[in-house]
Amino acid sequence: MTVAELAVAVSARYPDLVLARDEATVVIQRDDLLAALAWLRDAPGVTLDTLSSVTATHWPDRDPAFWVVYELRSTALAQRLRVKVPLRDDDQHVPSVTGLFPTANWHERETYDLYGIVFDGHPDLTRILMPADWSGHPLRKDESLGGVPTWFRGATMPPIDERGMA
């Protein structure tokens, strides 16, 4: 089965689907997320039974400001599908999928730690990479890199995020 055929099978039920660069991306609203992932996991001919990765992106000037990204893979079909959930800036909650995919546990903790997205129903939503007493969520675009100037003999170079590159 090609990714295009998988996309056809999925889009019959979830039509908000884009096929680009041989990768299928389906947008699902967070209220439908758990039902959708359960269907994608179990439906015959779809069988996306493995969750590879969970992460997010932050777009501070756009609405939605956050996208939570789930990478699914079907062992039987050897195909992948990306599920994206849009979140508004003032309401960063999404249901935890740990009940469906136990592997999501650490992925969701990491996404919470680095983006501040709250996964409702997660068994242990604590920081995982940053220190427990850290404040802020470093991968958000409004968090600076926090670099310090590089000192040379008789000159300094500003930190990378203040050099005006690109």
Binding site: S52, T57, L114, G136, L139
Partner: protein, 437 residues
């Protein structure tokens, strides 16, 4: 600087306190009196770097285990957002530093898919060659450190000795033993040096004998078998639930190998087998790694043969993508290519402008998102890369196999003895640089 470092004014930071809270007895709300909570790590010689295990023990038996990670978090993903697309390679290579080529390959394939470019055939063969050599060195580290932790010091010495031979080849090819940044978007940075074929030939002749030696030392070694057999068992179903990939998954009988299932870099044209076993224990993982080294060597040999009749460039011939500045050997050993310098400095103003833009800004990547996977030595390495159309990545997320596989540690050691933790962790073979990124 944005948010402050501490948001608990006056409170002494107790790193264990809040985490140990989860060990309270849910019925009474108290810690159980008959058990003991101890920290193993983060500075423990057998936790493969800075892994910390919070353990609740009843005598010698582990009742509960909670892995605590993050001690090696270096913000690689954040840093890539502030560097050019090509500089990104130098960051991701430092994630899983025992298998740097896999990180580079995954990242570069992601950038290439965003760009919609195809790399030259010779570059693909070289990529396969270095990645498979890297798989051997990585498995040798797993074997050597795992052996050392169980008291098999000779295996440590031999494993690192052979690894050093391959590191020597890496140094000849890339200039560095680790953190190579050799694979770049569009190909690889330079062709193999003159001495590479001879060194590779020697290695291909040497290694099979040496792998046989490890097996003679360990396969039927009563202590090795006693410590590993039936220890840290993980079933195939649990592996899939927990997202475990790589040798732990294959040792439980699932023949998942992305080189076969979702081939890239022409892996479908190489002849090799996916190694599986059925026991799913630490011993099976050891045997899978040993046999995978042999399969990798088969691929190395095929790639080596192909190199002879795959001439051509190793970097894409596209001035918007490929790095055009060339180096040549001057009287002092190395230097700029005089022909290229003459071209940009004396002949063509456009070439100079282009050179300047490539050096200061680098590649421009069209907007979009991709998730590219490669079969790293530890399992599925995924690169989720997002571009907003600028000269820098908007987001690079590394789905590191060690990070995901490490989640299985409580499953492996809860109910087992403290002594079994050592082979359990060694058989998962986590690299904390990849786990914490």
């Amino acid at each position: 600087m944005s948010a402050g470092r501490h948001d608990l004014p006056g409170a002494a930071y107790d790193p264990a306190g809040d985490i140990a809270e989860s060990f309270r007895d849910p019925a009474t709300g108290d810690f159980r009196q008959e058990t003991m909570i101890i920290n193993m790590g983060p500075q423990h010689p057998s936790t493969h770097g800075v892994l910390r295990l919070l353990l609740e023990l009843d005598g010698e038996t582990v009742i509960r285990c909670k892995p605590v990670i993050g001690y090696l978090h270096t913000g690689i993903e954040k840093n890539t957002e502030y560097r050019s697309w090509v500089q990104g390679v130098t960051y991701v290579t430092r994630a899983d530093y025992v298998a740097p080529f896999s990180n580079e390959l995954g990242y570069c394939m992601a950038v290439e898919r965003l760009l919609g470019v195809e790399v030259p055939e010779r570059a693909k063969v070289i990529r396969v060659l270095v990645c498979e050599l890297n798989r051997i060195t990585s498995h040798l580290v797993a074997l050597a450190t795992g052996g050392l932790e169980l008291g098999a010091s000779s295996v440590m010495l031999y494993g690192l000795r052979e690894r050093e031979v391959i590191m020597d080849i890496f140094e000849a090819i890339t200039g560095l033993r680790m953190n190579h940044a050799y694979i770049r978007p569009g190909g690889v940075v330079m062709d193999l040096p003159e001495e590479a074929p001879r060194k590779l030939r020697d290695l291909i002749d040497l290694l099979p004998k040496r792998i046989d030696e490890y097996e003679t030392l360990l396969n039927d070694n009563p202590i090795w078998r006693e410590r590993n057999t039936g220890v840290a068992v993980l079933s195939a179903e649990r592996c899939v639930e927990l997202g475990v990939t790589g040798p732990p998954l294959r040792s439980a009988g699932v023949p998942l190998d992305l080189r076969k299932d979702e081939p890239y870099c022409g892996y479908e044209t190489y002849d090799f087998d996916v190694i599986t076993r059925t026991e799913g224990d630490a011993y099976a993982r050891y045997r899978v790694r040993i046999d995978e080294m042999r399969e990798s060597l088969k691929i190395v040999e095929q790639a080596f043969t192909r190199l002879a009749d795959t001439p051509g460039p190793v970097m894409i011939d596209d001035p918007k993508v490929g790095w055009q500045a060339r180096l040549s050997v001057g009287p002092d050993g190395i230097g700029n290519d005089p022909a290229y310098l003459a071209h940009i400095m004396e002949e063509s103003m456009e070439a100079l402008i282009h050179h300047f833009k490539m050096v200061t800004q680098g590649v421009e990547v069209p907007p979009g998102e991709v998730y590219v996977t490669v079969e790293a030595p530890r399992g599925e390495l995924g690169m989720y890369v997002v571009s907003d159309g600028s000269h820098r990545p908007y987001r690079v997320h590394i789905r590191d196999p060690s990070f995901v596989n490490l989640q299985a540690v409580p499953d492996l050691i809860e109910g087992a003895l403290i002594a079994d933790i050592i082979p359990a962790i060694a058989s998962i073979d986590p690299v904390m640089g990849g786990v914490d990124r």
